[in-house]
Amino acid sequence: MEQITTSLAPRAATKPSVAGTGGDPAGSVTKRLSSELMTLMMSSSPGISAFPRSDANLFDWVGTIEGPAGTVYAGLKFKIAISFPSNYPMAPPAMKFESPCYHPNVDINGGGICLDILQDKWSAVYSVQTILLSLQSLLGEPNNASPLNPDAAAIWDTPEEFKVQLLKYYRPISDEASD
């Protein structure tokens, strides 16, 4: 995860100038983020949700993903930390699982995610909502070709065994107040 974000940063930093977003980047980013928040709140996509951690910092969000029905993740909930760069949406947000997620493309220790649209396939037309939806579908359809968690990739095809491992690591979202 760390290497992903760091490798992303320099490239992303060049993008705004390329795209020509001059003026007041922070102001326009805030605007974009609040409009994304509004869209996300008003669209009722089942199983995904996100919200800024505090009203003081719009660049730091917490997201929640429910495992899609019909997969081993069904009924489980995962917390995701989303951190937006100052040049968003020219660069993708940095995302990682806060709750341990046993998944071929997720680092079980750091929570880093291997998803192409969070890296080189990122485009400014994506939004928090699309990312979360992609993540949700990634849970059911991992990319076993480039695993961050080789063990998980290895046993993906035996759901029973996978489920045992998954539940071993899984911690339900505790409701301890975040304030």
Binding site: L37, M42, F51, D55, D175, E176, D179
Partner: protein, 757 residues
Amino acid sequence: MAANVLAKQVQNKWNNSFARLNRAEPGITGLLAFSEAWRIATDFLYPRDLNDPTPRKEYSMQEVRASFEFLSRAKMLPLLMENFLEDMRKQQHLIERDINEYMAEWEAADTPDFMARLIYRLEKWYKEWSPIPELGSILLSAYTLAFQTHLYSSFPPSFSRGFKQLIASSFSFVNAPCPPWALPPEPHPSLPPGPARQDVFLWSACESLGLLDRYESLIASVCYEYIEAHVMETCAKRWHESMLTCLRGWMTDRVVPWMVMPYARGARSADEARQMLQGVGSRFDYHMCKTLCDLRLQELFDIIIEYPDSMPALQDLKECLSRVDQRNELVKSLRRANRKRLLHPGADTNSIIDQYKNTMNALRFLDPPGVLLYKVADPIRRYLRERPDTIRSIVTYLVGDGEGGEGLGNENENEPIQPLQQRQADDYNDPNWEPEPIDAGPDFRTNKPTDVISTLVSIYDSKDLFVKELQVLLAQRLLAVTDGNYEKERRNIEILKVRFGEAALQVCEVMLRDMTDSRRIDQHIQAQKQMPLHPTIVSRHFWPPLQTSMFNMPGQFKEIQEAYAKEFHLFKPDKKLHWLPHLGTISLDIELQDRTVSAEVPPLEAAIIEHFSTKDTWDVADLATEMKIERAAALKAVLTWVDLGVLKEEDTGLYKLLEVAEEASSSSNPVARQAAMEDTSSVLTVQQQEQEQMKVYWKFIEGMLTNLGSLSLARIQSMLKLAPGYDRTIEQLADFMEAARREGHVTVRDGVWRLQQ
């Protein structure tokens, strides 16, 4: 030795006394003469029983005078006086007996004539026993004092009540001849017969008995009561004429002549009488003002209701208030009346505003600086602020076609329209500056006399609320105009612009222009292609949200809409029409086998009947699903057609088209018809808009609780700042969260909210 001295002294004294009485007459002849004189004098003075039938002994006045002279020379007059007073005391029981007798009669009859008779009787006693004036004023005044003392001590407690009754009845003697009982029983010796005022006898009798001084306060209270009764009787509920002048006239006609008797008896000339009456007269005048003032204060609430017809009453009150300081009382009683009669849930907001308006005018008249108004109006304003429909009422009042018919037009005929006035700090450079009135409270603010509308608007801290409500109202009114005559609305907006400022009404301006533009566009499109559709095209951003509906017009309606939209797009390529199909009306001719039904109906009804052109029988539930509307709405529309005799209920929920008319039997159900005709307004009210907004905020709350776990109310409130346009107070949020809790969406523990799992 000692005895000797004592004996000598006694002898000396005896000799002196003897010498005084005998006065150097030879032998004891002087003494004899003295005893004769004493006998005559005491016998003459002896208080006799009036009821004693034996004729009175005739005295030769010369003899009597001589005896008094003799006694006086012997310096025995003081002793004589003492003796006389002692005799009086012994005879007192005779008077007492008479008093008791008369009082008993009075108590039985309870009419003042027995009191009058008692007074005359007592006067007779007094005269009977009175020593002749030649004996000197000392004896006379000693006698009067002793007589009155005895008299008062023998009055029973009921006497003062009876006396009061007598005095009260004396008012009627002023202009009318006295009844016989009020006249003395026998011709009065000391007065010439037939004086101008017959009650003078009664008053002089009272005076000689000293009753006037003793019962002065009682007499005054009788007069007070007399005045009060008159004021109550003549002035209560008469607000349409000035009563004060008429009351003053009454005082001059009735009370002053009466006053002459008890208060100006000794006056020798008119001027003297006037002087004597001045003090007491102004006391009575004050009392009259106070009574009227109290009465008007009690009635003030109703007087204000009648304003401006009750102006004369206010004029009176103003004058009285300047004489009698009842300002505090006014504030108290009016506030009480307002609380009891106005500021309760049963009162219509419009009535409250009307009354407030009248209160403003009335109290401004009474007290131009506005202190009274400020004190009275405060609770009204606070109450109005809490009412949910106040703004709408005020705005309706502003635009003015309420039932009262008092709109901007009427209000402004006599006063120029002014911009809304803001509070201003005191300008100390103003040469006309005046300090605040003495009874102004600490939070009183000198407000220059403002017009009614400014005051009403100032109930709220901001005028934005009004502008918002104004938009809603304007939208409703504009959409209701069918003949294309927007002059009235234009005029209203122009007037409101002066009040609220140009910028605030910009939106209204756009709305108005939309209406005229719609007509212009429609004319243009109709010129291109004749169409039976005449839409009103509104700019969504400038109009308050309109009721939305999901259903689409079926069949031919849809075709017409599409054709129109195409033409519109040609005319205005950068704009797109978004139909609100459920608004407006449609004139239909329905051709059936045997008849043609013409009707003007809402679009929903038209859509329903269009469905029947494809299929004869429909289930309401199917119709509802087909059109994506609620079943109740569909049923309502269907019932309209049932009433018009086009549809008929075959089975429960199953309706059939009547190609051939049936006998108009009991099929038309007036109740259902009425229900169907009750149309809801097409524009969302501000309240509905708020509810809509709250739905948006709920999404945010849901979102933050999902992701952040549990949050305190304060935290939710601050996080909601992320939601665009969030402007609720934390109290409103608390109410909302409480409502959400009741509906089972959230739970709360220790002040921390979380989503219900």
